[in-house]
Symmetry: C2
Subunit: 336 residues, 2 copies
Amino acid sequence: MTIKDLARLSGYSLGTVSRVLNNQPNVSEKARETIMAIVKEAGFELNSNAKNLKQQRSNSIVVIVKGRANELFAQLVEQIQARVAETDYPLILHYIDEDENEVHCALQLCREKKPVGILFLGGTSENFLADFGEIQVPAVLVTNTAASLGFANLSSVSTDDVAAARSAISYLMEQGHREIAVIGGDCTVSEISHLRYEGCIRAIRRDSETALRSYETTRFSLQGGYASMERVLDTCGTQVTAVFAMADVLAIGAIRCICDHGLRVPEDISVVGFDGLPVGQFYMPKLTTVRQQTDEMASACVRILLDAIDGAPSRHLTVPYVLTIYESVKQVETLK
Amino acid sequence: MTIKDLARLSGYSLGTVSRVLNNQPNVSEKARETIMAIVKEAGFELNSNAKNLKQQRSNSIVVIVKGRANELFAQLVEQIQARVAETDYPLILHYIDEDENEVHCALQLCREKKPVGILFLGGTSENFLADFGEIQVPAVLVTNTAASLGFANLSSVSTDDVAAARSAISYLMEQGHREIAVIGGDCTVSEISHLRYEGCIRAIRRDSETALRSYETTRFSLQGGYASMERVLDTCGTQVTAVFAMADVLAIGAIRCICDHGLRVPEDISVVGFDGLPVGQFYMPKLTTVRQQTDEMASACVRILLDAIDGAPSRHLTVPYVLTIYESVKQVETLK
DNA sequence: TTGTATGCGTTATCAT
DNA sequence: ATGATAACGCATACAA
């Protein structure tokens, strides 16, 4: 079934049928009704290949996800999927490894798929500065800010990572912790780790008695958290009374490690995570964490991209974080 | 850049260029070399819309995922993605809710996308029996078996759910548990729950002193596990010494619930999960579970589908499960 | 082995 | 408001 058949069946011409199908103005009500009736009846669907070939673009939205085993991204993808499904833009998901260049990948996909817009889940300023200029379609960077990059067609939705990390450390300090270890990613390759580390430094600088005892870097995974915590314990023993993990998966790995060493959380060592994964609230102990609001981030990035496709200017949104206090941090008395 | 430009640049005709690009025989080595050199040089890519339009199909593989918040499916999708990326079949992911009809959805997508093959993650025999006959392309049902459905173009990759559940219960019985509760899905709508329940029954039937104290049904989620366990405790108190949860997320929710009631796992109540999610090994206690081998399932379903696309007959594979014993089950003395 | 011509289903430009 | 017609980029049957 093609629009040709539709033309034959309805008695109208190809042109009119096409106009009806695309909700164009110059069509009589009568034509619209008769044709749409047949469409409904026959369950007709436009052939997207022909349409895209003609229009020289694919009408689809590309999502580039940087990092496969990222729970936070998995949640975001799920929610983005749900929101885009309400429109009629098909979604093209593309996963790349953490160390691949997301902008090169986007350029490749632009050539191949000619999408109307791009969503980046994760990314590095460096890569954007180098090559994003070649990308013509609107894009939204999620998780990092792109405000300072100055591309007219690049928006962003992010958390204030510096402030969020700072508030996590500040909370630990308020609870009396003075010897703190941090677990995160390599600051030279992970921009987010760099920002969160910066937040840690700023918090700690405000009190001369508090020290960042160690900073262990690793992949953002359960195993990574476990291994890093092992190194922390090897190096500092129980001198450290609190750990800030830059992701909940790291925190969970770390807690398991702490327990395997015969220590308890939070009685012996307190732990704060980052992300707010659902499983954190069902962990033993419930994880105190800096929650990122994935639902807001998802709906915001989709909304901004759809607006941009319709011609709206780029925007840079900061989604508020929430320090979610549960059970994995204990107050300690400061022995002055 | 189109094959027209390629023809111009190489001095050959459109036809020859097309033949080279499609690895067809009747082409001279010289033509192949010169043309491919230009392709490499210019980074030329065929326009998939034109190609698909011409060939009347999309060359893509559709994946229909039934149930959004399913960790196991999320893992499978990730691994399927990785394996299909090695080929040049684009992947079209489609998520539907648990109560939607996956076969109707597939029919719709076949009309719309004209894929060369379909992967079903989850599904119900009933739906397949009713409408799968209309589907012409090869498909693989993952997670359920389709051996008895008798469709020539439908393969399946599944775990033996009856045996797996039975072995979980048997293990609990071996450890001395006689009063067991089960948490899972509604057997009338979830085929998998039905099979696993059947496995439970068969295990328990073999020993007259062991009883299935309660079967609580719920959604497969952390919250669902928590709520179900709450009902178990309300009804049976601590009469029950062990719980079999039909998914790790249910098990984790249940454990948290048990602890919130001042009881300990496994000292007061033992818990066995199902799936083998990574987080289970980092939970407190480490989760004893029936592990499904997602990597094997993923590579198997992709391999079977690719073979079927190349004309191979359908296959029905059972991937072995592994009872993974960790810390969430305790041996109890039977007081005879 | 190579070249030429036709059509896939659609949109868009031009008449009418 | 409607109809005719030319492209879009490619594969393929046929001619050379």
